[in-house]
């Protein structure tokens, strides 16, 4: 009995000692990430539209424009131009109202509404539009020389099979529950979102910066996650990186200070 009490006392003394001599401290920090682009000369930003493809389940052009505009309204000092989304595929293929601006390389390959962009290769015939400074300068003049954001969006279905580790609840002979990691073969499906953001100076029509971002997410085959939900999940990862191009972002975390 005396032995047990002295053991408890000893452990208490040890615990107090350890607490008193703590040699490290966890501290919350906020790391500011400086904007990659100096946008101080712009008062407005125009998310013009994107050349989008991959799946028919999500309109990558409209959804991306809508989401970026709403995020910029909340998290940027630039005034967001609220205008119709440019039909860039039509413009680039010379069919749209600005079709003449698309340059001699553009060929009207398909009729409107039947354009099929499934992969990166399919995007290539339209990408010349981003280098057409005259076209973007005209757009810039129309919207009071904003910073123009355009680019490509590819949202493609993806499936993968292989060994996956997941946690499963196990009950032992005594009825106790515990979690155990289990490796198993699984077929999974999901989506890949590839976005290329191109930043154009509306005063000159020249490209000033571009960023290529890629995210993918896989789900269990039985999950039946809708394409639109997956698109928003992936955009959640991409948006902070997009915003960090235009404005200083603060990344929250914690670090350990040592004595």
């Amino acid at each position: 009995m005396t032995g047990r009490i002295s053991l408890k006392l000893l452990s208490c003394v040890l615990a107090v000692g350890v607490a008193g001599c703590a040699s490290f401290y966890e501290i919350p920090i906020e790391t500011p990430i400086a904007a990659k682009l100096d946008v101080s000369s712009f008062q407005r930003v125009f998310i013009a539209g994107f050349i989008a493809g991959g799946t028919d389940d999500v309109d990558g052009n409209l959804e991306t424009v809508r989401l970026l505009r709403s995020q910029l309204r909340m998290k940027s000092n630039l005034r967001v131009v609220d205008a119709d989304v440019l039909p860039l595929v039509d413009v680039a293929s010379g069919r749209g109202p600005e079709g003449q601006a698309a340059g001699p390389g553009a060929e009207p390959a398909q009729t409107p509404g039947t354009v099929e962009i499934r992969n990166e290769k399919d995007l290539q015939p339209y990408e010349h539009i981003f280098a057409d400074a005259d076209y973007w300068k005209r757009i810039g003049e129309e919207y009071q020389n904003p910073l123009i954001v355009t680019g490509t969006v590819l949202f493609t279905p993806h499936s993968q099979s292989g060994m996956v580790q997941r946690e499963t609840e196990v009950i032992d002979r005594l009825g106790r529950r515990y979690i155990e990691p289990v490796r198993e073969y699984m077929e999974r499906k999901g989506f890949i979102l590839q976005e290329k953001f191109i930043f154009i100076d509306g005063r000159s029509g020249a490209q000033i910066h571009s960023e290529s971002l890629r995210e993918e997410r896989l789900y269990n085959q039985n999950d039946n996650t809708p394409a639109l939900s997956s698109y928003f999940e992936l955009m959640d990862e991409i948006i902070p990186r997009f915003l960090s191009t235009l404005s200083t972002q603060r990344v929250r975390g914690s670090r350990v200070l040592i004595k």
Binding site: I33, Q207, H209, S212, S244, G253, R255, L257
Partner: protein, 117 residues
Amino acid sequence: MPMRLLSVVVLLTAFAGSAYADARADAKAQVEFGISVAQRGLWKEAIYRWERATQIDPTYAAGFNNLAVAYEHEGMLDKAAEAYERALKLEPNNTLVRQNFELFKEIHDRTNQSQTP
């Protein structure tokens, strides 16, 4: 004669040892003060203290680690990387420093993931 030489060596060693101990104690005092001000959000003061600590004792890994954290908080990412590397050079097996550095690199890499034409 050899006895006199030996006693001089012993004295010098003892003096150097106590000088090192003094430097470490001074640096430690600066580090502790830096921690207390950082906990109150006074990061610039903390940077001053930890810079002093690393000047007083350039072998004190904790000083460099804390300095790296403060630089990170102030957005001085290049200086933070340098300070983390100094701390790890001094104590390569310090898991706390390593963990801080890994978290730092994650942010750093993420911000550098983009491509520019």
